[in-house]
Each structure stands twice: as C-alpha cells, then as structure tokens.
C-alpha cells in the first residue's frame, strides 16, 4: 500500500477514536435545545457556556474537582516517595527475604481490589471513631486505599529503572565521599525520573477515576464527594441534563488530558523501560 493511503487510514481511525471526546465537548458547548433533539448535528453555530455554569453552580462541581485533585495529588506524592524507597531496597540491596517480597508484590498486584471493598468498608467504619480523617465520609479514607492499591504496581515498575542505574555510579559517588542517602536523593532519584513520571501518571489516573470506593466510603457527606460520584448525581431516569453531564465530564477529563500531554514522551519511554526491565 502507498504510504499516503496508510496515512489517510490512520487519520480516519484517529478521528473515530477521538470522536466521543469531540462529542463530549461539543455537547457541553451546545445550547440545551440543540442537545435534546432527535436529529443532533455534529456542529453548533451558537456555542454557550450555560452547561458549564449549571455544572458549576447547581452541582458545585468546583468543590468536587478540588476534592478529586487533593486525593489524587496526595496519593501520587506519597506513592512516589514510598515506592522509590521500596524499589531501591529491592534492587540495590541483598537480603534474605528479598525474593519472597518480590513474589508477594506480584501476587498482591493481582488481588481484585474491588473484592476488598467489604472488609475495607468495615475497617474505615471503625477507623472513623479513632481518626475521623481516615474513616468513612472523609477524603483520607480514599487516599489510604488508593495509596495501597497503587504501591505494588509502582514499586514493581520503578524496580526496573533503579536496576538500570549502573553500580559504578554509586562506587564513584562513594569514592567522592557521598553517603548512601546522599547518593539516593542526589544521584539515583533524578536518574529514575522517567520511571517516576510513568508511575505517577498511573497512580494519578487510578485515584482520579475511582468510582467504587468513593461510592462506598463517602456515603453521607456530600461535601466530600469526588467527581465521578458528582457526575452520577446528574443522571436521573428520564430527565438527564445531558448538557451539564457533558460539561462535568469535560471538566473531569481536562486535568488528566493535560497531565498526559505534558508527560507524553516520558510516559512512552517509561512504559518501554518498565517492559524491558
């Protein structure tokens, strides 16, 4: 086949893949009458921000956006720090339980976290009386579960990046008089940056997308809901406010999309590195 034909096919496929997103933004910008019509048009001549206004005022999406951001960012920061330390321990140190721990990590990665909703619900219920912030109806409970679920994968992924840093570098650093911890933070940490980026993207998405745990843990504190839950509030039988739902979906997708575009190159490199390792 000619390269031009292949490229044309590629562009058509890309358009199909991107179409739902186009439709989301378009619907969010259409006036309500154009949204609820039996023959929807794939364009609009009268774009308006009404749907966004409704999403932000009627359902206070801003509040939920902040909640989601807080949860996701705290999870990313903690998970990066903890998994970097653990990955370093598992790659650059030799100790007796090392292999056992690695196999355990692989196994917990496969545990269907959704199945743990029931015991975690009861745990968060009892935690509420001791440390409210980490109990039911508080964002801390979400931070805890997402941290736990992103750690095994993050550690596993970072391992490859830490292992790829040559041992000679550490010997050189030691000769120069650097302590182990200085080496850890000033040499190793920057060198595994692509791995950290890839890991943080996956941890962020995991926490940002969560619907199940937010639904289970945030039961009666409307002010502590996250975006996926808030979006569901709009969906009512027979009287969906599609414009506002699509505006909400747009608001929810933009942060992740920005994150992705910013780290795009490093993400590809990171995935390749993780797979190679």
């Amino acid at each position: 086949m000619k390269r031009g034909v292949v490229e044309a096919v590629t562009v058509v496929i890309a358009a199909v893949v991107a179409f739902p997103l186009y439709w989301m933004v378009l619907t969010a910008l259409k006036p309500e009458a154009e949204v609820i019509t039996a023959d929807p048009r794939p364009w609009t001549l009268t774009p308006t921000l009404d749907s966004f206004t409704r999403a932000l005022t009627v359902q206070s999406f801003g509040r939920y956006l902040v909640n989601s951001l807080v949860v996701a960012l705290v999870v990313v920061l903690l998970s990066l720090l903890i998994s970097f330390l653990a990955a370093t321990a598992l790659t650059r140190f030799r100790f007796r339980t090392r292999t056992t721990l690695l196999i355990m990590l692989l196994i917990v990665q496969m545990v269907p976290v959704e199945a743990l909703t029931i015991p975690l619900f009861f745990m968060m219920k009892s935690v509420r009386d001791v440390v409210p912030v980490f109990g039911l109806n508080h964002l801390g409970s979400l931070v805890l579960v997402h941290l736990a679920f992103s750690l095994p994968f993050s550690i596993w992924m970072l391992r490859g990046f830490v292992a790829a840093v040559p041992v000679e570098l550490e010997e050189a650093a030691t000769l120069d008089g650097a302590s182990r911890f200085r080496f850890l933070w000033q040499v190793l940490f920057p060198l595994v940056a692509p791995g950290l980026v890839a890991t943080s993207v996956l941890a962020f998405i995991h926490a940002w997308n969560d619907f199940l745990f937010a639904k289970t843990f945030i039961i009666s504190a409307a002010e502590n809901q996250t975006l996926p839950l808030a979006l569901q509030v709009f969906v009512k039988p027979d009287q969906n406010d599609w414009g506002a739902i699509m505006a909400g979906s747009t608001l929810m997708t933009i942060p992740v999309l920005l994150f992705f575009i910013v780290v795009q190159r490093r993400l590809v490199a990171g995935l390749a590195g993780a797979v190679k390792a």
Partner: protein, 295 residues
C-alpha cells in the same frame, strides 16, 4: 549497591513505609475478606442486633448451588474474553500501523489514543451512553434508528459496554507494543531482509518472538483489568442491567453486600474472584520465568 554490613537493616528501613501500608490495607483486608465469607453477616450482625453465626463453607455452598452465580460467572468470563481479544487486536493493529506512517500521522493517532486513555471511566461511560442514547444519540441519528435502546437488550448492552472498555484500554496496549517494536534493533530486521525473508516471515519469525515478553505482559494486564470491570458496567447498565441481566462478578458482589446486606455472601464472591485471578497470576509467573526474566 555492593553488599555491605548492615544492608538488611537499611533495606528494611527503606521498605518499612511500603510494608506498613500494604500489610495494613491489603494483607489485613484479604484476611478479613476470607473471615467474613465464613459467617452469616447481614444487616443485623453489622448493627450488633444479632450474634454472628459461623457458617464455615456455607456461603460457598449457597453460591455454588445458585444458578444465578454460575450464569454471572459465565458472563464475566465471556465479557472479559471479548474485551481482552478486542483490546489486543485493536492495540496491536494500531501499533503496527503507527510504525508505518510518518511522524505527523503517528502524532495524530497517539493524541487521539491518549485522549481515550485519559478519559476517566465514569466520564467515558456517560459519553458513550449519550452517543448511543435512544432519543438524542448521534449513533441512532447516523444509523436512522432513532428510538432504538442499546441498553435495553442484554446483548446490545454488553456489546456497548465492551466497546467502551476496548476504547479506553487499547491505548495502553498500543503504546506499549509500539515502544516494544521500536526497541527492536534495525539491524535485526535488515539482516532478515538480506537473508531474503518476506515481510510476513520477518514479522512471524523475527519480530513476534522478540515481542513475546511484552505481549505476555499486556495480555495478562488486560485479562486482570477486564475481569474486574466495575464502573463501566455499573454506570452504563445502571447497576447491572434490567433484572440483573448484565451483572459481572464484581458488581454482583457489590450488590449482594451493599444493596442486599449479604456481606458474607458478597465476601465469598470476592474470594472466588481472587482465587480465579491468582490462578492467572501463577500463569503469569510461569510465563515470566519461561521468557527468562529474573526476579
């Protein structure tokens, strides 16, 4: 790092935060899950109004003799299989396509895929629902089938959810495989061409074996993800479809526990799911060992 005295102690110090979180929030809940599954654990037990009754394998016996459980299990496996095969086919085809085009076309394709990948599951589910809406959906307008409800019939509903799942999960496969193909040294392919191998032969005998480890990783990841789909089913079929026709194990366990207050039964479903996925994990470990990966 070179082995030094006191290595073990430093290693454990570095591991401590991770171990604390994992034991507390994964290890202990797994133990609790098994424990709860052995009891008659309902609303009255939760509120302390009735004593706990130890059932042993009672909940499991109830499940295994329940036709509903078997049909949900079958549906879960079938649904996951369709999603995995679809995701891999689309992802692999587009990865190969991406190697055949100039940078600008590849960038366009990757940006579109990144968009699908970045869309949160709840948002993606609602967008697809709206696109396929009976009265206001663009797809019905396009097909001239206005008024047709895609979510009413069991199979079109499953098909719609599967399409959405494939849409948001093929990018991972595509990007990973693309990176893998790019990592194959050009000389290897040139050597094959010099030896007179056809494109197909090169793909089958040279590229595919080199990609095997990556293919195994993405396949297993897809199996694990698609077997556990919750959000899409829950949002798109409104909690498992009319009369629960579109249930998968995850949603079924959730409904049993939090809607019917049958926590013991829900936990038993969770244990069964975990056991099934552990079997897959063992297969994964064996595959990794075969492909020569060192732990």
């Amino acid at each position: 790092m070179n082995a030094r005295k006191g290595d073990g102690r430093i290693a454990y110090a570095l591991l401590a935060p991770a171990l604390l979180v994992l034991v507390g929030l994964m290890g202990y809940p797994i133990y609790q899950l098994v424990l709860i599954s052995l009891f008659d654990y309902g609303q009255e037990q939760v509120s302390g109004g009735a004593p706990l009754i130890f059932l042993g394998v009672g909940n499991y016996a109830t499940l295994l003799s329940d036709a509903k459980f078997w049909s949900v299990l079958g549906q879960t496996l079938g649904f996951a299989a369709v999603c995995v095969v679809g995701t891999l086919l689309v992802g692999a085809t587009l990865a190969v396509l991406a190697t055949r085009v100039r940078t600008w076309a590849r960038t366009v394709l990757f940006l579109a895929a990144l968009g699908a990948w970045a869309t949160p599951a709840v948002a993606g589910s609602t967008i697809w629902l709206f696109l396929f809406d009976a009265n206001f959906g663009f797809v019905n307008e396009l097909l001239g089938t206005t008024g047709f409800s895609w979510t009413f019939d069991k199979w079109t509903a499953f098909g719609l959810v599967a399409a959405q799942v494939i849409w948001c999960s093929f990018p991972f496969v595509m990007v990973t495989l693309y990176a893998g193909i790019k990592a194959i040294p050009g000389e290897v392919i040139e050597a094959a061409a010099l030896d007179g191998a056809s494109t197909f032969r090169t793909a089958r005998s040279v590229i595919l074996p080199l990609l095997r480890p990556i293919l195994i990783v993405v396949t297993i990841q897809s199996i694990i993800w698609d077997f556990k789909v919750f959000t899409q089913i829950y949002v798109m079929t409104n909690g498992g479809g009319i009369a629960g026709r579109n249930l998968v194990l995850n949603v079924y366990a959730y409904q049993q526990a939090f809607a019917a207050s049958e926590y013991g039964l829900g936990a038993a479903i969770g244990v069964v799911m975990t056991a099934l996925l552990l079997v897959v994990t063992l297969g994964y470990l064996r595959a990794l060992r075969k492909s020569g990966e060192e732990l």
